[in-house]
Symmetry: C2
Subunit: 407 residues, 2 copies
């Protein structure tokens, strides 16, 4: 079939780079920092096995039949309670829509908000797959610069006056890819601006509860008097991703649009999976389970940060995330992370070059390293190889770097 038989948007869509890298890294001999996989040894397989059987025996007909688009009410109630207790929000169950993974929350967002050419603001860098979801609507992007405390507010109001975005997409807590967390001050200041100019804010909270250190934060929804914040969150990182159960929290008149669009997207998220997640949450101590995940990842984060400090040349920048799954690395300008990746793959280590995480002007000298999916000793071993490859790559680039500097 000729390219012109397809929609125009298809010309700009290709399999994501990360996906292609992940295919290579599926080979068992590879030490992979590339994916964003939770540690599977922490999945509660035995508990879910018991609950799945009981669910089908006791409520099988309901679990296997069609069900309302909004989702399973007891689960929405649980989420409401959780958000209001832990996230600093004041939502009701009528403000919660269950989605098929948080990626679907992004897809629905594109449908609800974005016309072709609409302007989307996002952090620099931002979550790659959000761009993939938004790209279906063919918007334009502008980046907001960031530092260790989140989005830099200076200059933002001038931009809002000149050409306000249709939506803003942010990941304020344990960001993918950078691992950064916005300070409370930035959260407050950011929401003051967005409220003043009435800009819808998509807050991606996929990693919200995967915390290792004492840091203060709350959902942007806590500073949202006009109902502008749409919060996306998920059970993928705190339970398991394979059930594909996540949610959107938004003001009723906004959520109504998400529900209409969700209906034509996939009718509903599997009722069986929703009921299974709910039974699990009722039967076991969720906080205790979450603690085990956080404790395990903290050790891995520590291992990665320590190894990077030890192995990398002094002055190389990388983040020390207080939660989440990723460390973000900024290497010397001369280093192209794609070339480095090729070198690393030959040494059986993988990571994701940072280029694709920038919608406007990708920085080729950045890299994302995942630490959730490998035990500490493998992390240390992998970082050593990575550092060696980086040193070789810098060495190889030296003449070119000198040339560039001499221009």
């Amino acid at each position: 079939m000729n390219q012109d038989r397809f929609a125009r948007r298809m010309a700009g869509m290709s399999t994501s780079e990360v996906r292609e890298i992940l295919k290579v890294t599926e080979r068992p001999e590879i030490l992979s920092f590339a994916g964003g996989l939770p540690a599977p040894e922490l999945f509660p397989t035995e508990e879910l096995a018991v609950q799945a059987r009981a669910l089908l025996e006791e409520e099988g007909v309901r679990a296997l039949q069609y069900a309302p688009t909004e989702g399973y009410l007891p689960l929405r109630d649980w989420i409401t309670e959780r958000m209001n207790t832990v996230w600093g929000t004041q939502v009701t169950s009528s403000e919660i829509l269950i989605t098929s993974g948080s990626q679907q929350g992004l897809d629905l967002t594109a449908k609800v908000f974005l016309d072709e050419g609409d302007l989307v603001w996002c952090e620099s860098p931002t979550y790659l797959a959000a761009l993939g979801a938004f790209n279906v609507a063919m918007p334009r992007y502008e980046e907001m610069t960031t530092d260790q405390d989140g989005v830099i507010l200076d200059g933002l109001e001038e931009r809002l006056k000149k050409s306000p975005p249709k939506i803003v997409y942010v990941i304020p807590t344990f960001q993918n890819p950078s691992g950064r967390t916005w300070s409370m001050e930035r959260r407050r200041g950011f929401m003051e601006l967005m409220t003043k100019y009435e800009i819808p804010v998509i807050e991606d909270n996929a990693y919200y509860e995967v915390r290792f250190d004492e840091v203060e934060y709350c959902s942007l929804k806590s500073f949202d008097p006009k109902g502008l914040v749409i919060s996306l969150a998920s059970f993928s990182k705190v339970l398991c991703p394979g059930l594909r159960v996540a949610w959107v929290a938004a003001a009723p008149e906004v959520l109504a649009r998400y529900i209409v669009v969700k209906q034509s997207t996939d009718l509903q998220t599997s009722n069986f999976n929703q009921m299974l997640v709910y039974r699990f949450l009722k039967a076991y101590d969720f906080d205790q389970r979450l603690q085990r995940i956080c404790d395990t990842y903290r050790v891995r984060r520590d291992a990665m940060v320590a190894a990077l400090e030890e192995e990398l040349p002094v002055g190389m920048g990388f983040t020390r995330p207080a939660g989440g799954m990723f460390v973000w690395l900024e290497m010397p300008e001369a280093v192209d992370a794609h070339a480095l990746l090729q070198r690393c793959l030959k040494a059986f280590v993988a990571f994701v070059p940072g280029f694709a995480f920038y919608p406007e002007k990708g920085r080729r000298n950045t890299a994302r390293l995942n630490f959730s999916n490998l035990p500490p000793e493998k992390i240390r071993h992998g970082v050593r190889i990575f550092a060696r490859c980086l040193a070789e790559e810098m060495e190889a680039r030296q003449p070119q770097a000198a040339l560039t500097a001499g221009k």
Copy 2:
């Protein structure tokens, strides 16, 4: 939030009428012909309970982790084998993508093919929720007239020459809403035309294997030398809808686009659900189960057709479906099915007015009646009430009908 904060497409999207009717009909005192629910007493809850537990105990980590977008390969192999054995196709597993329900196949179709203003051809009437999925891309629609043998081919080539559609969407087998099945001759003739003009054909096979009578048919993919046919199908009607496991079959270069788009839509369909469906198919006799579904529905179809023949005035047109879940009713021109529905609801009977199933010019005197979700005695009882209400409605409309006739 103001309407102008949302995408333009949202102005044309509202909760589907069927959905609103279904909300009313959830009340237990209502005898409902409105939904499209499979008979839940046929769901294999006990078998799935056993398999779900075994799956999580034996392959839990794999079932609960992220997985490739394409879907679980053993399930795609099973589908391939099934299609090639029963559907008359010659596909390979690399031409199968697992989707989250067949509704998602429609959503992906809109993304892959449709730009704003693109022309979509569909049957008159057609499946309502397909329009919902396509509407996100804001296409235009033209209907193809149909009779008992399917789409009427006369005049179609002239239309193809003048203004060919971007895609054609058809449900050739046990159509929702009409219950009609295309003859082999029409299938062949239709595909000759589409092949000549190279029009992508979306074939919706949601009801394909729910057959009561001996009728000859095969997938349009059997007449597809140029790889133009995209077949959508599902386990919802032959196993259960709650697991949300369905598939798209298409030529590799077309399927590649569906995979890219599926990735940004929801990453993947629940691996757990895919593996569960596969284990079920391996452990039990699928054909025997399917036979029980078909046998049960045949009795219900017979009950509905017999009751309609008995209760309705002579000359009232309705279909006698050889499979699927629906009977389609054409009432006298003067009858407005929406008014009739209000009358029926007061008598505790529900159905879906046919108006919304026509994208171009809805016929207000049509109705869709579902027979899969009620036992025969309730069907007979409900049809009696329906017929009484219809008689009352015709009586009430008489003056207006006379007036219209006199114009």
